[in-house]
Amino acid sequence: MMKDVIYLDNAATTPMCPRARETMARLIEHGLADANPSSPHRPGRRVRALLDDARDAVARLVGATPGEILFTSGGTESDNLGLRGAAHAMLRERGRRGVVVSAIEHHAVLEAARALEREGFVVEVAPCTRQGVVTREAVELAVGRIEARGERVGVIAVMLVNNEVGTVQPVADVAALARSRGALVMTDAVQAPFAEELDVERLGCDVMALSAHKFGGPQGVGLLYVRRGVPFDPILFGGGQERVLRPGTENVAGIVGLAAALAWAREERQAIEAHKRRLEARLLARLQERVPDVELNTGDAPRSPGLLSLHVPGIEAEALLVELDLAGVACSYGAACSSGSLRPSHVLQAMGLDEARVRCSIRVSIGPFNTLEEMDRAADRMAAAIGKLRAAGRTAVTVVGGVSVS
């Protein structure tokens, strides 16, 4: 990577925090996790103790008890296990076949819901507002559609912070609704690790997913909170780890890193959020001063600081991101997908933005380790890139698809 790159893709991966780095480095360097935590011997028990300590810490940090925390391989697994585990168990135990997901969920939830639908579950999607918020009323209507189809709702999934546009969703309201209907509520909180409301009691959720690399921990490890006593089935089968709900030898070094990072994230939460808010204001002010028509796609909706969906009129995101990459600003379209290409954001589409606006929007996500000075340089580079593309846009060689071919 260029030395001079300004990293503004923290929603894809946030750099590891020093605490997690040091903790994991020590663990690996001294071989502290070099045994299987399920083994019946002293080395095994020593590793098991690390795992137990991490679980205790994590549980405390999100307002849960240790027995309610499952460690997973990350956000995608947590989302899949959370939705499928709850849906299958609610059908098996309560005969509830209905699943409601919001239109702006991460693909890990949406695709899991689609898979459930193929398996015979009745799935309804709750739309969002123009500003990217899923209201309690929209969820209630979706539940009504489930009931109109002769089924009862088993699970409702609404994320806490949207990963593409940063809007905060009224999860507590949705949880209250779910409770009144006898349904479970799952929330994908992957993009909300620094949010004040990240507490399972405060949210009232039954299932909650988190991913370590969004809050300064390592990639490849996540967690799933599952409220004690709610119906829940595994999706993987094998050993008895994680209360049989997520078998497989635990990624102990990763889990210890996750716990260290989450402790840091929650302790420093207010400072981090304030920092991101300050940086965001600086970036936006300077950028809009130079390019006045750049605007937020989310209006004045409540939003997680630092996570911005920006519309740059007339400039295709694909071209802008290349120009920004070459100029040393790393940001993205919406979600990072496997091939790294742009697919029209389902979130922006759900918000009802027209096609041109969807194609001309980028995601900028500021993280805890960005600096104020970087915001000035990033804004200048962005303004320069936009100016360059706008100048070049007037000199196209061919008319794209303008010639009839048949």
Binding site: G340, S341, V397, T398, G401
Partner: protein
């Protein structure tokens, strides 16, 4: 990125040709940016054996090559333009009883259309590909010439004929001076991770080159059964849809005639497939439409050329002349009748190594020209 070096975008498929093209440009000192065009919906790969370009695998391979070369690399989502300018006309052509060349449209509208526009937008002077073809500027006329490459067996000029002067000025074919074997050797010498990959299939979006299955799955409503008739109009049998037939086809007719019969004509208006003897699939000429001139600004007099009417057909000596008043239409008469002149296929006219121009075959001209109508041998050679 050093300032002052000309920037070139290289379309990379992950295969050996485009990888070597990128490597050569880097060595020649260009500021090279690698790109792969994603033309398929995310997560959906063409089913079946998967060796085609533009898939997720291709992206992985191309990204590795770009990394090895130390160049920036991006994936562009060109699904919409590809669907609109390649796939939709492809299906439409078959339903009209024609046999299309989708690679031609992809070159015209996607690689050297939308991608070239994107390249210019990003400050690049050209788009480069791993095509085997040559572009040179004629020092006398200033026109950009499209020419056959050194490796005549790999010659891909047949699928590049629609390129305009503006497009040709901004196209680079680094493989022009090399044979395929040399290109493989160049890849090996540079330890590019693709040196031993097999050749990709013919039409990238058709799994296993089974276009009939593709049409059945993607345009089932438009595939209508009809009659198979002989050249006298006698009904010999039924066909499942004109789209499943091409001129010269012998297999799959489902006729028990006791002698080999060939498709000699397709009449989409009557939804009929016409069959006949092998000789009846021959034509003395063709009328081309949508003609694009490369070596010359236009055609006012008859001219002697070699015509290629299929990707792998031998070049046939012929004379071209304007057809009526439409400058985009040309009449092409062969010295000897050619087999399976197929509407929808491209016809490309050459003068030696130079592409004079090309067009889409509108119709075959079956009739032998009356004696004394023209004297093709006396027409001047072009270029």
């Amino acid at each position: 990125m050093r300032a002052g070096r000309p920037r070139v975008l290289v379309a990379m498929s992950g295969g050996v040709d485009s990888s070597v093209a990128a490597a050569l440009l880097v060595e020649q000192g260009y500021d090279v940016i690698g790109v792969t065009l994603q033309i398929w919906p995310e997560g959906i790969r063409p089913p079946g054996r998967h060796v085609g370009c533009c898939s997720v695998d291709a992206v992985d391979d191309a990204r590795r090559v770009a990394d090895r070369l130390g160049i920036p690399y991006y994936v562009f989502d060109f699904q919409e333009i590809f669907r609109r300018t390649v796939i939709a006309p492809f299906t439409r052509a078959y339903l009209q009883g024609q046999t299309p060349n989708p690679c031609v449209w992809c070159n015209e509208h996607v690689k050297f259309g939308a991608l070239l526009d994107r390249a210019v937008q990003l400050g690049a002077e050209a788009v480069a590909t791993g095509h085997y073809a040559r572009v040179e500027q004629d020092p006398e006329t200033g026109r950009w010439l499209l020419m056959r490459p050194r490796d005549r067996r790999k010659d891909q000029t047949y699928v590049l004929w629609p390129l305009t002067q503006e497009q040709l000025a901004r196209v680079r074919f680094p493989l022009a001076p090399y044979t395929k074997e040399e290109v493989r050797e160049l890849a090996r010498a540079r330890r590019l991770p693709v040196a031993y990959k097999p050749e990709s299939q013919e039409i990238c979006f058709i799994p296993d080159d089974d276009y009939r299955r593709y049409l059945r799955e993607h345009a089932p409503e438009a595939v209508r059964p009809g009659e198979i008739v002989d050249t006298q109009g006698r009904v010999l049998g039924q066909h499942p849809g004109v789209a499943f037939f091409t001129i010269g086809q012998r297999k799959g007719l489902g006729l028990a005639a006791g002698r080999p019969l060939y498709v000699v004509d397709i009449d989409p208006a009557a939804n009929r497939v016409v069959v006949g003897e092998r000789d009846e699939a021959r034509a003395w000429g063709l009328e081309a439409r949508a003609v694009n001139w490369i070596a010359v600004p236009g055609l006012s007099e008859p001219a002697r050329v070699e015509a290629r009417i299929r990707r792998n057909a031998p070049d046939a000596p012929a004379v071209i002349e304007p057809a009526g008043g439409d400058p985009r239409r040309v009449l092409c008469r062969f010295d000897q009748p050619q087999w399976a002149v197929t509407p929808g296929q491209s016809v490309v006219w050459y003068a030696g190594d130079v592409v004079v121009g090309g067009g889409v075959i509108a119709r075959a001209v079956k009739e032998e020209p009356p004696a004394g109508h023209t004297t093709p041998v006396e027409a001047p050679a072009l270029a």
